[in-house]
Each structure stands twice: as C-alpha cells, then as structure tokens.
C-alpha cells in the first residue's frame, strides 16, 4: 500500500517562514530588492537629514567638518557609481577620472574664461556626462572584467594627458581657482557654508538616486543588469540605456568634481588617478551599491575610519585593511545590506514569534 500523507498541501513552492537558526544566513543575504515600509523610509530620511544639517553645530571641530565635506562630495560621486554598478551592473575603477573631467572643465573655464563656480557647473557636468558616455562605448562590446581594466587604463591615460597638457591643464602642477562665488548673504569661504553647499548637492544626489530607484527607469536599469537578452526581448533598448546610465553617472561625477575643486581650490592630475578611483570602487562596495544609503555609508567609513582608528599610521593602514576584509566576509552585500538585514531580522523575528505563539494557542 502506498503511504499517503493527507496533511500535505497540494501546491508546492511557497517559501516557509524564517527559521531562527538561519538568521545568520539572512544577515548576509542581498535584500536590496525588498522594499521597506514607507514609514521606516521616511523616519530614516528625516533622522539622517536632521543629523547632517545639525552637524556643524555639534562642536566637532574644523577637522571633523573638513573630513565631512570630503566625505559628502565623495559620496556624490559614489552615487553615480552606485547607479551604474548597483542598478545597471556596470563597474568602473576609473570613476575618479570622471570626477576629474568635471573638476578640470570647471577649473579651465575659470582660468581661461573667468567663469565662476555657478556658471561653470552646468558645462562641467555636461562634459563629464559626455565623457562618461564615450568611455562607456566599450561596454556595448565587452564584459564586466574587461570594462574594469579599460576604465583603469582610461584613468591612467587621463592623468598622463593632464600631466603633459602644458599651461592649458597646468601640467603636473595643476590649476588654481578662487572661492565659490558668494550668493547674497552667503560667503562660502566660511567652512560651514561650504559644508551646506556640498550637503545640498548630496541631498540632490540622494533624491535623484531614490527617485531613479523606485521609478520605471531604475527598473529598466536593473533589468539590464540581471539579463540583457531578456531585457531586449521586452523592448528595452539596452545599448542606449547603458550609455545613458553612464552619462547620468557622469553628471553626478561632474558635480562631485566641481565641488571637490572648489573645496581644495587647487587640483592636480594625481588626484584623479588610478588609486583614488580604486578607493571609490572600494567605498561603493563597502557601503553597498544597491542600497540607497550604501554609497554614503561607504564614503563615511573610508574617510572616517582612519580618523577613528587613529593608530600609528602604518598600523592604522593594517587595521583598516583587516576591517575591510571582515566587512566583506561577514556582510557580502556591504554595510548597507547589513543594516537593512538587521532591521529585517528584527522585524521578521517578531513576526515569527507572533506566528509561533499563534500556532501554540
């Protein structure tokens, strides 16, 4: 006689609830696709915005504020990288060069034509976007690893061109600019005002990233990331969108570059070379490219960790490397993923408990 288990359902498939012993697995999962409740999102956004706005008044000192500015303009560039890698799946390790295009465009406009921060900004962003698109052309032909090396080469080439660019690029010495043209009543030489300028731009970048993420455009990019062939067959112009997202990423990079230029007020080729680029890739991975706050978190970690560790410099580097390894090993989706997963685990845990007690009752 066949044994028949009548209690079993007729349709298979639906995943079961989370078992407590699998919590750890949950922590390391990639839950970028899981939406958070609107309330949670709103509270996070308000808390974060409030904290960032209040920062200059917390009495943390100029050093802190300076590093915060660096962090924020880096994060703006990272949001571009987050978009192209996190959403569209195109990684680049030449992103600093793209920021450099913006910075140099603005600086050259300032030196040659006397344009200031505000007037040169649109041109610089546009140029970064165009260059982003042009170096993106190989993505239509080659795969991920190839493109990584190509962007790396581009970056090195960019530095060589700048170094040999004569007075036009300022050669290896670089170019100088004045301070940000003041707006009525706001002088950007004051560090906190400079901070707010960069913060405003960061909010723009965040808002843009958020909107893209929830929009049809964002989904289109993710479709390309996940399966190009299928994307084509549902009518997505994959080539156009790939170039498009690299151009959008270029816009972010251009903005970040100009902010960097006017913060440093002196730029030179090495700022935009291979190693800064590598660190950008590192930050975006560390924070979690697919998560709204991932790039910001990545920028914060990389910029502030050496400050926090504050060991003897060589030891600090070693400790920093070890931290990096631990994060990647324990939180493969980045710190952003880790935070989201902790939230999900707590919430999921409550649900499971509720379900369990119901079952017993």
């Amino acid at each position: 006689m066949p044994m028949i288990d009548q209690s079993a359902g007729k349709t298979g498939g639906a995943p079961e609830g989370v078992r407590p012993r699998d919590r750890l697995a949950l922590l390391t999962a990639d839950n970028a696709a899981v939406p958070l409740p609107a309330g949670v999102q709103a509270i996070t956004a308000i808390l974060l915005a409030g904290l960032l706005i209040a920062l200059p008044w917390l009495g943390l000192g100029y050093r802190f504020l300076s590093i915060a500015i660096t962090t924020l303009y880096t994060a703006i560039g990272l949001y571009g990288l987050g978009l192209q890698f996190g959403q569209a799946g195109i990684m680049s390790v030449g992103h600093a060069a793209l920021m450099g295009v913006g910075a140099y465009a603005s600086a050259i406009l300032s030196v040659q034509l006397g344009l200031g921060f505000w007037t040169s900004l649109p041109f610089a962003m546009a140029l970064s976007a165009i260059v982003g698109g042009v170096i993106g052309l190989p993505t239509l032909r080659v795969g991920g690893q190839h493109y990584i090396i190509i962007t790396f080469c581009f970056c090195a080439l960019f530095v060589i061109v700048l170094t040999n660019g004569g007075t036009f690029t300022g050669s290896a010495t670089g170019l100088d600019v004045g301070s940000v043209t003041p707006l009525p009543g706001i002088n950007f030489d004051k560090l906190s005002n400079n901070y707010y300028l960069v913060l405003a731009a960061l909010f723009l970048a965040l808002a843009a990233t958020y909107l893209i993420g929830i929009s049809r455009y964002g989904r289109t990019l993710r479709a390309i990331r996940e399966n190009e062939q299928l994307a084509r067959s549902v009518g997505i112009n994959v080539d156009l969108h790939k170039l498009g997202v690299l151009m959008v990423s270029g816009l972010f990079a251009g903005l970040a570059g100009v902010l960097q230029l006017y913060y440093l007020r002196h730029i030179s080729p090495t700022l935009f070379g291979a190693f800064p680029s590598l660190y950008l890739a590192l930050m975006v991975m560390l924070g979690g490219a697919r998560y709204l706050y991932g790039p910001l978190i990545g920028a914060i970690i990389v910029n502030f960790l050496p400050e926090v560790l504050n060991l003897e410099p060589v030891d600090a580097r070693i400790a920093y490397g070890i931290c990096l390894l631990l994060v990647i090993l324990l939180l493969p989706g980045g710190v952003g993923a880790g935070i989201k997963n902790i939230y999900l685990a707590i919430r999921g845990g409550l649900e499971t408990q509720g379900g369990g007690s119901n079952g017993r009752a």
Binding site: Y62, S66, T163, T173, G174, L264, S268, P313
Partner: protein, 388 residues
C-alpha cells in the same frame, strides 16, 4: 613659573607614498623644538614660550592635509605650520593658512611658480607663505657650475652635450625647466628626457640616451628614482660621466656604489655625507641621533630646521606672538645665519632665500673618495629663464 606654550603645527606624510620626504620635516621639527625649548624657549615680550608641536600625518592625501590644516588653524590655533613636502598640498593648504594669517613654511621650490608680486602682497593669498628653498634658477645655476667645474678636468675633452633625465611630475617639470637653461648658459647643448613617475625599469630610456652620445647624463630630481636608474645606466655604459641630483655622498658610500667613470652628486642643500661645514656635521649627528633614517632626502631636513630658529628670532624681535603681519615684515627684513649656509640667509620679496648648492664628485672606482665644490649661484637668471 609656568612657561606659555607656542603652538606650532607640522603637516607631513608619515604614511602613504611620500613618507620618506615627510619624515624629514617631522625629524627636523622635533630636533629644532627640542633644542629651542632646552635652551629656555622663546622670549617674546616679557613671557617665555615653549614650542608645542602639533604633528599631523597627512597620509599623502590632500583631503587629510586640508582637514589637518583646518584643525591646526581653526581648532588648535597654531601660529605657524611647517609642511608639506608636496607642491599640491602646500598650495591647497596656503588657501587656509593665508586667510587665517598663519605662517606657512613649505619645502617645495616649485612654489616659486606661484610666489609672484601679487600673491605675496599684503592682501595676496601667499602673503604668509615662505618657500624654504632658494629660487630655482639660483640653485640650478649653482649646481650646473659645480657639476661642470668638477667634471671638466676629468674628461678627455670639455663636455659639450648634456642630457637631463627627469621625472615627469610637478616638481620635475618645474625644476628641469630651470636646470636646462642653466646648463645652456654654461655652454652645454642640452636634451631633456622625461620619464613617467613610478618608472622602475629605466633601461629603454637609458639605451635611447646612450644613442644620443652625451658627455654627461644628469639625473635630475627625485633621489629614489635616481638611485634606481643610475646602476642601470652604469651597466649599460650610457655616458662617460654622470651627475646625480639629490643623492648624498653619504648614501653613495652607504650603498657602496661604484662607477668606473667620474660621478658628481649634489645634496639639497648641504650634504650630510661629506659636508664642508662643521655646523652641518654637528647638525646631522644630532638629527640622526634622534633616530631619523639616513635616506637620500635626509639633508632636506636642514631647511625646515633652520627656519624654526629664524622664526623664533623674528618673534622675539616683534615682541608679540599675535601679530603675524609684523612677523612677516620682520622675516622679510631680517637675516639669519643658519646651518645651511655660511652666509646669512635673507628672504627676497617673493619669500625665497638664496644659498648655494654643494656638489661633490666621487673618484672612479671608489665609494668614499669625494671632492666637493660650492659654487655661488649666478647673479641673475640665465637668458630665457624668467626667474622663479
């Protein structure tokens, strides 16, 4: 009676790729501060100040440099900052020290490119910035004369054709532009060959230079690269004589380098390995005594060291520590007899000093038989060199 503190900042690379340069600033500052404090401090007005150093590692990162400068200037309120060792960083830093009226002593001579009338004027952005090295045309002239005077007797016929071999970075570009002019002013026919920064295999470029049949090859700027390239050149037999900029006889000796042709070398500013001046020898004994590494850049520390004393002297003269404008004015009109030069140092209107460069020649097939010369810099820039 408790002494007051005079806060002074040091920003230098203690990690990252410029460590070897950065460490010299820190070493010199520590030595100078210790000596000044041990000697009783600085008497300003009726108070005595002890130097308190705030040393910050810039991690060879411009953002950290700026943050450190902000911290030192705004959070701590230092009166002066020593550093950095790089042109870019020093320039960005000057944009913070300038408005805050904090004095800045920077080591790079390529600052000369931006230290013009407008920049150093009372409202200029470099009014408070001083370049610790001489004007580049002076150093180039002094060096070129030294090299030629030492080498000419050694060669079969007087040298006519020089190749200048230099790293293609900011400092290299700036320095070599003056040195080529200086050599031409001495009657040399000069070819300039630039190598990419970070080159380790110099053979292709050296082979190419060999094909140009030069009388002297000048390895100009960046002691580390020079020390990499020079042995390769010897093996390839590139030229009948060489000049190594910034390689100290001490290093030559320590590494037991040996060549079968005459080799000259210079130090910036005075050699620790074979110094003509007893004060310099004393200085380096103490400097190395504090544990500093003996590197090709070690002698640069001397510059940063002297300026501490000069600055202290200016403060005493002004009698106030809170009047940076007066200190600048005092520095510009005073002179100071430091270790670096037998004649007193004075600042020109572009905040630069004048001193000669020491050039030494090692006899072929030895590592320690040196003959040195100190040729005074020319009175005016050579033709085609617009100063700086």
């Amino acid at each position: 009676r408790a002494d007051e503190e005079l806060p002074i900042g040091v920003i230098a690379a203690q990690s990252g790729s410029f460590v070897s340069a950065g460490n010299t600033i820190v070493g010199a500052a520590n030595l100078a501060a210790q000596q000044i404090n041990d000697a009783g401090g600085i008497k300003v007005g009726d108070k005595t100040y002890k130097i308190k150093l705030y040393i910050r590692d810039n991690r060879t990162d411009v953002n950290v440099t700026i943050a450190a400068a902000r911290e030192l200037v705004n959070d701590i309120g230092v009166k002066a900052i020593w550093g950095t060792e790089t042109h870019d960083f020093s320039v960005s830093m000057a944009k913070i020290t300038g408005p805050a009226k904090v004095l800045q002593f920077s080591g790079n001579s390529s600052l000369g490119a931006v230290l013009d009338d407008k920049a150093v004027a009372e409202d200029g952005w470099l009014h408070y910035t001083f370049q610790s090295e001489p004007q580049e045309w002076q150093r180039s002239g002094s060096t070129a004369k030294g090299v030629l005077s030492l080498l000419t007797p050694q060669l079969k016929s007087p040298p006519k054709h020089s190749v200048v071999f230099v790293g293609n970075d900011a400092t290299g570009q700036y320095l070599s532009s003056h040195y080529v002019k200086a050599l031409e002013a001495e009657g040399q026919k000069v070819d300039l060959v630039q190598y990419p920064p970070d080159t380790t295999d110099f053979s292709p470029l050296l082979t190419r230079i060999k094909g140009m049949k030069p009388d002297i090859v000048h390895f100009w700027y960046n002691g580390d690269s020079t020390l990499t390239a020079f042995p390769q050149a010897l093996k390839l037999g590139v030229a009948p004589s060489y000049f190594l900029f910034g390689v100290d006889p001490g290093i030559y000796q320590e590494r037991s380098l040996k060549a079968d042709v005459p080799v000259t070398m210079s130090c910036v500013p005075v050699c620790w390995g074979s110094s003509p001046y007893p004060e310099v020898k004393q200085y380096f004994d103490k400097y190395f005594g504090l544990g500093a590494a003996k590197g090709p850049q070690s002698s640069v520390s001397l510059l940063y060291y002297d300026y501490f004393f000069w600055y202290a002297k200016a403060l005493e003269k002004v009698g106030k520590i809170d009047d940076p404008d007066a200190v600048v004015a005092e520095l510009l009109k005073s002179d100071y007899k430091g270790v670096v030069s037998p004649v007193p140092l004075v600042f020109n209107k572009h905040h630069q000093v004048t001193f000669a460069t020491e050039v030494c020649m090692v006899e072929p097939n030895t590592s320690d038989k040196f003959k040195c010369a100190v040729e005074q810099p020319p009175a005016a820039p050579p033709p085609g060199d617009n100063g700086g």
